[in-house]
């Protein structure tokens, strides 16, 4: 019989190995699923992982990886900070929406004013919006001990209703013939989060995502707050003795992740998406949770994980149109990634041992 034995310390090797093995296991498991659906598994896997990077049209797909990956990375970096401290912000999707509403709202309020100040103000509003939305679960947790998982999650649905109301009411395009949705910010030069270099996919949100990666790395490695966050997560008791103020950590972690999610929403609405609409949010806030764990809550790990996740989205769509795979199969494929990761993660904390008790001489 096999038995699990807790490791005294989490295994570093397994910590790095688990994500890699999870990707391989997903390819195998996904391949089996695709074969059962009557598709060539090798062609399907190649289409998902290889085609976006190296096929004939890779010049178009590669920049798309950055566009799709940037919001995921930006949000996941914020979330990872809280997850390290055991503070679970599940509502990044809501903070993302509010950031977009505030950022776009700032632009629409001054439309059609052309000024170099418009965009910086939008960035500020986006970050403040996401921050403020995340302060609701933070303050409720500090004052009344409510569970931030539930509160932040429920606020996603509130934010969605607010988004629908904005698209149909206050922010509705006055020249839109009564149809829902705001003006398209892509056509408002001062507010447009355009590509910095045409054809590269690099917009300011991508730059911010990279800055966030570096910032959070330095923060965790060098700064006292980073130390407090790590300590709170690893040993709450020790943190208390070390004089860490738990309320401060809650405010910081939720606020930081809220602000980054708000920024992601703002860059999205001002650039790739262009407008506030009822279906503006597409689940980045939830997918980022997977990205954070896939990246081991490590800033550079998250960078890679975000790009990998973006790859499965883009490759998944290519596989749908060229191989006729149903979208549900692609979603199941992405789900497998998290499933295998969590399963293999067990080996980071546990050793597999045989339970036979034969006496050795």
């Amino acid at each position: 019989m096999l038995r699990l034995e807790k490791r005294p310390d989490p295994s570093k090797t397994w910590g790095y190995l688990a994500p890699v093995l999870a990707v391989i296991a997903t390819m195998i498991g996904g391949g089996v699923m695709f074969a059962l659906l009557g598709k060539d598994p090798f062609e399907a896997i190649r289409t998902i992982f290889y085609d976006p990077l190296f096929s004939e049209f890779a010049w178009y797909y590669r920049p798309q990886l950055l566009i799709k990956g940037a919001p995921l990375i930006l949000i996941a970096i914020g979330l990872s900070m809280g997850f390290r401290a055991g503070i679970w912000n599940i509502g990044a999707e809501g903070q993302y929406i509010i950031g977009a509403i505030c950022g776009a709202g700032a632009a629409l309020a001054v439309y059609p004013l052309e000024s170099a100040l418009v965009f910086p103000v939008m960035i500020l509003c986006g970050a403040i919006g996401g921050f403020a939305w995340s302060m609701i679960p933070a303050i409720l947790k500090i004052k009344f001990g409510t569970n931030e998982i539930l509160v932040s999650l429920m606020l996603v649905y509130v934010a969605e209703q607010l988004l629908a109301s904005m698209s149909l009411g206050l922010m509705k395009n006055p020249e839109g013939f009564g149809f829902p949705g705001s003006r398209n910010l892509q056509q408002y030069a001062s507010a447009h989060n355009a590509e910095l270099w045409t054809g590269t996919g690099i917009h300011l949100g991508v730059v911010f995502a990279l800055i966030a990666v570096i910032f959070s790395y330095i923060m965790l490695a060098r700064h006292q707050m980073g130390f407090h966050i790590r300590l709170t997560g690893e040993s709450p008791k020790a943190a208390k003795f070390a004089g860490v103020n738990p309320n401060k950590v809650v405010i910081y972690c939720l606020g930081f992740s809220g602000a980054l999610a708000g920024l992601a929403g703002m860059f999205e609405v001002a650039g790739p998406s262009g407008q506030i609409s009822i279906d503006f949010n597409v689940g980045y806030g939830f997918t980022a949770i997977i990205v954070a764990f896939l990246g081991r809550l490590d800033p550079f790990g998250i960078l890679l994980a975000g790009l990998l996740m973006a790859l499965t989205y883009i490759g998944g769509e290519i596989a749908q149109s060229s191989l006729g795979l149903p979208s549900a199969a692609i979603q199941a494929f992405q789900g497998m990634l998290l499933f295998f990761l969590l399963a293999l993660d067990m080996l980071t904390n546990f050793k597999i041992k045989r339970t036979n008790t034969e006496v050795r001489i």
């Binding site: 178009y60 629908a164 149909l168 149809f179 829902p180 999205e268 609409s277 009822i278 989205y313 149903p326």
Partner: protein, 359 residues
């Protein structure tokens, strides 16, 4: 040897290229929901199947389902265009700006955008006059209700849905002056849980007819459970719930249009157009009126349907006042499609409806 293989390769490529040009037309479809939703996307996919059935080997279709309305849609369309699509149908209002963006980058690819209003040299728009079907539903509802309360599940307060409510209401009132409409906004196109809740609330408030402008069959199931309530299929026939609660339906029938547009691309006659067809052109179908409806009502409903189809009657024929009592259409006047008070941007209720358009 090397030169020979290059030439051979080139020749092969040439045959392949000319082969594609002469033989197959590639048609792409971008769907907002899963093809198995039983409503909106399901009917568009049936349209795609009709294209395959009509042209066989001469067409190659591709589709991507559940595409969010935003940058993802733009990528999916670009991907299809890069793969050599000749014609791309983008089947949701929220793909409007994306369709225009991608079309500008691929001037040789034809695009068809459903339910929007932005056209360009290679972007056509098309939609269906579903409100004609609503008139028939309202007529049946007005006759059938005993409580004089008709429930209506709205999706979003947009012109399309408001037009439907108005059309159903005036035709219900025409045959039953005491009829009242209770409207619940579900703020979703497809969410079985919310739709079922909305139906239950309406039934509790006394509605014995429930009309829906959302796509799932959940309201049908709720009506069936409640007993003496009738419903109408939406987007697709939903015949499984007949003969009662479902007594008729509005069916989106995109097949003929998709076939005609594909043919136009094959013939090289495709031009950017704006199409808004109703029962007459076959884009809106009225599902079979079941035995739960008395023969007399069925006959008058079918007569209404036929008069809408042959153009002898317009759904919105004056005298009609707006909710605030001001005149919208004078006696004998029919509603214009466009303009400030046109159907395309209709944002107001008609006289007699006692709720307000949410804002």
């Amino acid at each position: 040897m090397k030169l020979k293989s290059i030439l051979a390769g080139a020749a092969l490529a040439m045959t392949a290229a000319t082969g594609t040009l002469a033989e197959t037309t590639k048609v792409g479809f971008v769907y907002v929901g899963p093809v198995g939703d039983g409503g909106w996307t399901y009917e568009h996919d049936k349209g795609r199947e009709a294209v395959v059935a009509a042209f066989g080997d001469k067409v190659e279709t591709m589709y991507v389902e559940s595409v969010p309305e935003g940058p993802d849609a733009e990528r999916v369309m670009t991907d299809m265009a890069l793969k050599g699509a000749d014609l791309i149908f983008t089947t949701s209002f929220g793909y409007m700006d994306q369709t225009i963006n991608v079309a500008a980058k691929f001037p040789n690819v034809k695009f068809e955008h459903a339910t929007g209003y932005k056209q360009s040299d290679n972007v056509s728009v098309y939609s269906a006059r579903f409100y004609e079907g609503r008139a028939v539903q309202g007529h049946i509802a007005g006759h059938m209700t005993k409580s004089n309360i008709v429930g209506y599940i709205g999706s979003f307060p947009i012109p399309e849905v408001i037009r439907g409510i108005n059309a159903a209401y005036i035709h219900a009132k025409e045959v039953n002056p005491d009829v009242q409409f209770k409207i619940i906004w579900a703020y979703t196109w497809f969410d079985p849980t919310k739709e079922a809740d909305a139906a239950k609330v309406l039934i509790e408030q006394g509605a014995d007819v429930v009309l829906q402008h959302t796509d799932s069959t959940a309201p049908q199931a709720a009506a069936q459970a409640a007993g003496n309530v009738i419903t109408f299929g939406q987007a697709s026939d939903m015949a499984a719930y007949g003969p009662k609660p479902r007594v008729s339906s509005i069916i989106d029938n995109w097949g003929p249009y998709y076939i005609a547009r594909t043919q136009a691309v094959m013939d090289g006659t495709w031009a950017s157009t704006s199409t808004w067809d109703g029962i007459g052109a076959g884009m809106v179908g009225i599902g079979e009126i079941t035995s739960a409806v008395p023969a007399g009502v069925k006959a008058s409903a079918e007569a209404l349907r036929d008069s809408l189809a042959d153009g002898s009657y317009h759904t919105f024929t004056g005298p009609l006042n707006k909710q605030d009592g001001s005149v919208w259409l004078k006696a004998g006047e029919t509603a214009a499609d466009y303009g400030d008070e046109g159907l395309a941007s209709m944002g107001f209720y008609l006289e007699g409806l006692d709720s307000e358009v949410p804002n």
